[in-house]
Amino acid sequence: MSWEISGMSAICALGDTVAGIHGALCAGRSGPAPLSAFDRSKYRAGAAYEVPDRVRAGVDEPLRATRWLVRAVREALADAGLPEPEPGLPVLVGTTHREMRTAELWWRHDGGLSPTDLHFTSALRAAFGLSDVQTIASACAASLYGLGMATDLIALGEADTVVVAGTDAITESSFGGFDRIQFPPPDTIRAFDRSRRGMIMGEGAVAVVLRRPGTHPGPVHGLVRGVSMNCDASHPTAPDAAGIVRAIEEAHDRASVVPEDIGLVIVHGSGTPQSDLAEAVALRDVFKGAAPGPLVTAIKGGMGHISGGAGLLNLVVALEAIRSRTVPPISDLTEPIEETRELRIVTGRPATEPLGTAQVHAVGMGGINAVAIVEGAPR
């Protein structure tokens, strides 16, 4: 079966609408900004892709990830024509850091913290009366895990409509942790480039409304055809191409497509040496017989790695690329790695061609992978 996406929204450093984010990517807008709320003397890197919405510059605030989530869910529901959802509507929220930034402010600066701040049921119940909320913390594959679980809820007859979201705010601990292991620190994210040095954190939220076909007559943005989720179980931190291949093949199987059907791939593309290599090898293997093969791009150079929401952001950007027939290029990619030689990597400027079906990736720490197959809107 397939599932309709009848509403979508996103917010990140690059913009606060899906069309706006896609347009900014196509215009080549990107680039991290100087860290605004952390003490810059503590880190070797000095920049991140923050959402510039703090009330006072330089003063951090609790519950920003929650705030963006509520906004994204509200906008996606409105977009779907469901401003006042039924109280039983399930909401699946993918997140890497939850409200750990709020916990950090509590631990270090005597901010407040309630156990209910560490999941998103409380906020979504207060905002919309929704309490069937799952806070899914499967690293940076979390929002596509949520999407896969949502397709299951509908397929198993447990729901007709499900909201899937992702949200994260940059935490000092993870910013510091990546700063510890990435040296010299990356100045930009250069997915698939020989000179790539790693990932730069971003933040923001994304939401979609997923519905059983036939549930409503309104417009749809696209169809989810199938979602896979798996685990490499091969190394604590380094991704494994074999696990990504299995995830792609299972997604194709669930979507009833073959490699030749895929017109566009938006990879995880975090710009780390190992993760990009694993994805390139996986794509080379899966698409070796497909001619000409899909266009391949990555978007994190635009808004950084927004963590839990990253996979779902890839998905909404893919739908916008299909609608506009315009695929944003990978930013700052000048010397592609050898493993991408047979792939149709989009560089320099946007690629324009009709597209039907797209494949999006999320590769999380711990070898946690998810792949979704989507197609453009029939109406």
Binding site: M1, K42, Y43, R44, G88, T96, H97, R98, M100, A103, E104, W107, L113, S114, P115, T116, L118, H119, T121, S122, R125, G129, S131, D132, V133, Q134, T135, I136, A137, S138, A139, Y145, M149, D152, L153, A155, L156, G157, E158, T171, S173, G176, G177, F178, D179, R180, I181, M229, N230, C231, D232, A233, S234, H235, P236, T237, R246, G366, G367, I368
Partner: protein, 292 residues
């Protein structure tokens, strides 16, 4: 639709890793392979191994396509807080590289998968008090949707300075320090391999309030498990529902319990351990013989 929600699933293994007569955390968490793991992951890995042993699935081929589902609210709270303390005292170069994976809420599930080569879905839920029961229901759905041949469900909450501070600030006086694991698998598979079926998952619901959740689980007439989990361990948080299921299985293990007897577990309701945001209800039913 691939496989209906009608795929029957059952608990076939239980494993405890909580301080007691047969588990000493001081020695059990210090064994080989534990050095780089956070406290939550150490507990989770031990509970997982015991649950798989109990189910007779250790090193079994079924594990390759199985799922891991972890429920924990505070698993990575201490690594996160400790890292900001390190940053405040110095800088990022003072952070140990092995700390980095521990900052992820998903780290325990990843270690469990790595320990047993479990390559199916690797899910971590941080849902508050309802999370343990939600995790069992999620495991059932992963199996029903054809995504997993079996599922290892772990509820884990470590005690640590940050966790203790949060409990004390919210009027807590006693809380769990450990993990419990359940093996969930299709009834048909359990029968085929001759495994002992401890309890079948017979219903699940989640709602604003207890009454609605119990109704959604189809359990208005099912006797409810009492407050044993909290009486034994204090606050269980994300581990609560998994502890409740393990206790329900112990109750159903009694040979005097008649076939068909059911137990209702409720997590997050006002009278028990609750955070006031949602309630989950799950029914486990004894079905020793009727597997066809």
């Amino acid at each position: 639709m691939r496989t209906g929600a009608t795929v029957r699933t059952a608990v076939t293994g239980v494993g405890w890793a909580v301080a007691g007569p047969d588990f000493d955390p001081v020695t059990a968490l210090a064994v080989r392979g534990m050095r780089h793991k956070d406290r939550a992951s150490r507990f989770a890995v031990r509970a997982a191994r015991r649950a798989l042993e109990d189910a007779g699935l250790l090193d079994a081929p079924e594990l390759d396509g199985a799922a891991v589902v972890v429920s924990s609210n505070f698993g990575n709270l201490d690594p996160v807080c400790d890292t900001v303390t390190t940053l405040a005292a110095g800088g990022s170069t003072d952070i140990g590289p092995m700390r980095v994976p521990q900052l992820s809420s998903a780290v325990s599930a990843a270690w469990v998968a790595l320990d047993h080569g479990i390559r199916g879905p690797n899910l971590t839920l941080c849902n508050g008090a309802s999370g343990g029961l939600d995790a069992v229901a999620a495991a059932r759905n992963l199996i029903a949707a054809g995504r997993a041949t079996a599922a290892l469900v772990i509820g884990v909450e470590p005690d640590s300075p940050a966790v203790a501070r949060l409990h004390r600030e919210t009027a807590g006086s006693r809380w769990i320090d450990g993990a419990v694991g359940l093996v969930i698998e299709p009834v048909r598979q359990a029968v085929r391999r001759g495994a002992r079926i401890r309890a079948e998952i017979a219903g699940y619901g989640r709602a604003h309030d207890e009454r609605s959740a119990v109704r959604a689980a189809g359990a208005t007439a099912v006797p409810r498990l009492g407050a044993e989990a909290n009486a034994r361990f204090g606050r269980c948080s994300g581990a609560l529902g998994v502890v409740q299921c393990a206790l329900a299985v112990e109750r159903l293990d009694d040979p005097d319990v008649p076939e068909g007897e059911a137990v209702l577990a409720v997590a997050g309701a006002g009278t028990g351990e609750s955070d006031g945001t949602s309630v989950a209800a799950l029914v486990l039913r004894l079905s020793r013989g009727r597997h066809t």
